[in-house]
């Protein structure tokens, strides 16, 4: 890509990432949530990959790490669900609810949002990476 694209990318990619994390963490207070935030995080990496090529993106997060993080995110969400058994029921929201409109409120909901965010972000990035690597290996052959 051209220098202009690379420079703009360098400036914006961090902002996009932070915005994604903000959306994930504030899912219970404002529109958005784990899924939308996770896709934004994935898009930040995709943006990096489109501008600088996949090598730079892979140096930030490798394919193995991505698939591990995805499984860990999924297990974390299942763990949140199983946590409910401590209170007697699957998916019971057992943590203290706190007062509304605060960041630390709503019991397990922010935890679920974080788990989904991790899972979705790295999962979609892994899909994209797999597609790019496929095309590259085809070119090499």
């Amino acid at each position: 890509m051209t220098l202009i694209v690379k420079t703009v990318t360098r400036l914006t990619v961090g902002l996009i990432l932070i915005f994604g994390i903000y959306i994930i963490l504030h899912g219970h207070l404002s529109p958005g949530g784990g899924f939308a935030g996770g896709v934004i995080v994935a898009l930040a990496f995709v943006h990096l990959m489109l501008a600088f090529g996949e090598d730079v993106a892979v140096s930030k997060i490798s394919r193995n790490l991505a698939s591990h993080l995805e499984s860990i995110g999924a297990l974390m969400f299942l763990g949140v669900a199983l946590l409910g058994f401590l209170g007697g029921s699957f998916f019971l929201n057992i943590l203290i609810k706190g007062s509304p409109f605060k960041l630390f409120s709503a019991g397990t909901i922010p935890l679920s949002n974080i788990a989904i965010g991790i899972k979705v972000g790295v999962g979609l990035f892994a899909i994209f990476l797999a597609l790019v690597i496929l095309e590259k290996s085809k070119g090499a052959k």
Partner: protein
């Protein structure tokens, strides 16, 4: 402690197994094999235990409220006679197929991914069976469907990809119709709990929207079950998959996604009137004949079996569509029997493919001499599917025919008899060309398949042989409870909600 607490574990165990396999499968040697065997064995034990618990429950129904939210506000899981019956069917077959896959999948790369997807598919089917919420049913249906699309293309050869694409497109159209049906029902009743929908619908008789929604559901689930006007994807998708997945798809996936969901919605939510039942019977009889006639001209072993799946699903739907207790009993009994012998037949075809590396009927011959276990088990399965007396297929087909005559549908009874005769002819062809006759040169040196594959085939054949025992009075409760759920129809609502509102 509430006994209903075991219900969520039907979903949690395969889900946890899938996540762990994808995390650790590549590093810990043999982890994926051990995990899949342990989880499916545990599920098998759990579903038998659940059946036992259900027997002791007062109303023959267990309801579990997820998150403690009372339905219809939260999602509930329901275990009644029909779900317990389906759970036993699914988990028995899934356990033996998992055992078989241990050796069979040596031919493919990346086994951990295979077992992850396999486990997710089991999770999707169990989720469909135990759920009591319409939208939740859709979500788990998608899990099972997406994993099956990926598994059909697991070999990544050209034909597998093409079959998988066709299957994925057809499956997505089916899902769209189902989703649209759910949207209409939500707009009309403003609730998603299946029992609650049934309650609201029964208070609003003669609504025009109900037939429309039933047509949407019939199209959607009919596509998933491959009833005849919607069957075009099945003969491509089922043969292209690895043999253990073909067994899974033909044996239980089309029944859970198609027949079970259709029957649950038609009988327990919408209420089965005479018109719906006659449509079901007609589609069943049509699939029965068209499937078997198309199967006669096939020379590819797996493709032949796939066409027979269409035909046998026709028997199941015809039996259930009769609407009488005997008809439903026969239909469900045939569903169980078919899932056993059809998965066994696909496993046999996989064994032939594994050892002889061909599945063309014209090339094989005399394999019974070099592969005795495969030969004998496939003989038992063929006799079962064709309806030869001591085996289980005979009893269920006989009951279907008797139920047809009892209700006065002599034409349908005749169709069933013709279908059965043609099935017999077609399987005599299979036996003649694959396992009997002259051993072709080049096949002298092939060996019998590995132990795990043999073991699972022998166990399934044993179930085929003793399947007739399920008609004994002491074991009959297993099917009778399932039949009662369907016969009571929309009173399902009262038994689900009644157990939870107080």
């Amino acid at each position: 402690m509430d006994t209903a607490i075991i219900i969520p574990f039907f979903v949690i165990i395969p889900l946890g197994a899938a996540f762990l396999i994808s995390l650790l499968g590549r590093y810990v040697r043999r982890f994926s094999e051990i995990a899949i065997c342990a989880s499916s064995l545990f599920l098998l034990v759990l579903c038998l235990y659940a059946r036992l618990l259900l027997h002791q429950a007062t109303d023959k129904i267990l309801v579990y409220k997820i998150g403690g939210w009372v339905p219809p506000f939260g999602i509930c899981m329901v275990l009644d006679g029909l779900s317990a019956f389906m759970l036993v069917t699914v988990n028995v077959v899934a356990f033996f197929i998992a055992l078989y896959s241990l050796s069979y999948m040596e031919k493919y790369t990346d086994k951990p991914k295979f077992f992850t997807l396999f486990s997710l598919m089991v999770c999707g089917m169990n989720g469909i069976i135990v759920t009591g919420d319409l939208f939740n049913l859709f979500v788990f249906l998608e899990i099972a469907s997406i994993s099956s699309y990926a598994l059909v293309a697991f070999g990544t050869e050209a034909e597998e990809l093409e079959a998988s694409f066709k299957y994925a497109i057809m499956g997505s159209i089916a899902s769209s119709f189902i989703f649209l049906g759910i949207a209409f029902l939500y707009g009309f009743t403003s609730t998603l709990n299946m029992a609650d929908i049934a309650r609201v619908l029964s208070s609003k008789p003669n609504a025009w929207i109900v037939p429309f929604v039933s047509v949407l559901f019939l199209t959607g689930f009919g596509l998933k079950a491959a009833l005849v006007p919607f069957h075009a994807w099945l003969p491509d998708a089922h043969p292209s998959a690895p043999a253990s997945i073909s067994a899974m798809l033909s044996g239980i996936l089309i029944k859970t996604l198609g027949v079970y969901a259709l029957v649950r919605i038609f009988f327990n939510i919408i209420g089965a009137t005479h018109n719906y039942l006659s449509i079901l019977m007609f589609l069943g009889a049509l699939s029965m004949l068209v499937g078997v006639i198309l199967a006669l001209s096939q020379w590819d072993l797996k493709r032949l079996l796939a066409y027979h799946s269409i035909s046998q699903i026709g028997y199941v739907v015809l039996g259930i569509g009769l609407g009488t207790p005997l008809g439903i009993f026969a239909g469900l009994y045939h569903l169980f029997n078919h899932s056993i012998f059809k998965s066994l037949l696909f496993l046999n075809s996989g064994a032939v493919d594994y050892a002889a590396e061909t599945r063309d009927l014209k090339e094989t011959g005399g394999l019974a001499k070099v592969m005795p276990v495969t030969g004998w088990t496939s003989l038992i399965a063929s006799m079962s599917i064709a309806g030869i007396p001591p085996f289980n297929g005979f009893f269920s087909k006989l009951l279907i025919i008797i139920a047809c005559i009892q209700k006065g549908y002599l034409g349908y009874a005749l169709c069933a008899v013709i279908g059965s005769i043609l099935t017999l002819a077609s399987f005599m062809k299979v036996q003649k060309f694959v396992f009997f006759g002259q051993l072709k040169p080049g096949f002298q040196n092939i060996k019998e398949v590995p132990l795990a594959m043999k073991l699972s085939m022998i166990c399934l054949a044993a179930i085929c042989a003793i399947g007739g025992l399920m008609l004994l009075p002491s074991l009959k409760f297993f099917l009778d409870d399932a039949v009662n759920v369907l016969v009571q129809g929309t009173r399902y609502a009262a038994s689900v909600l009644g157990g939870t509102l107080n």
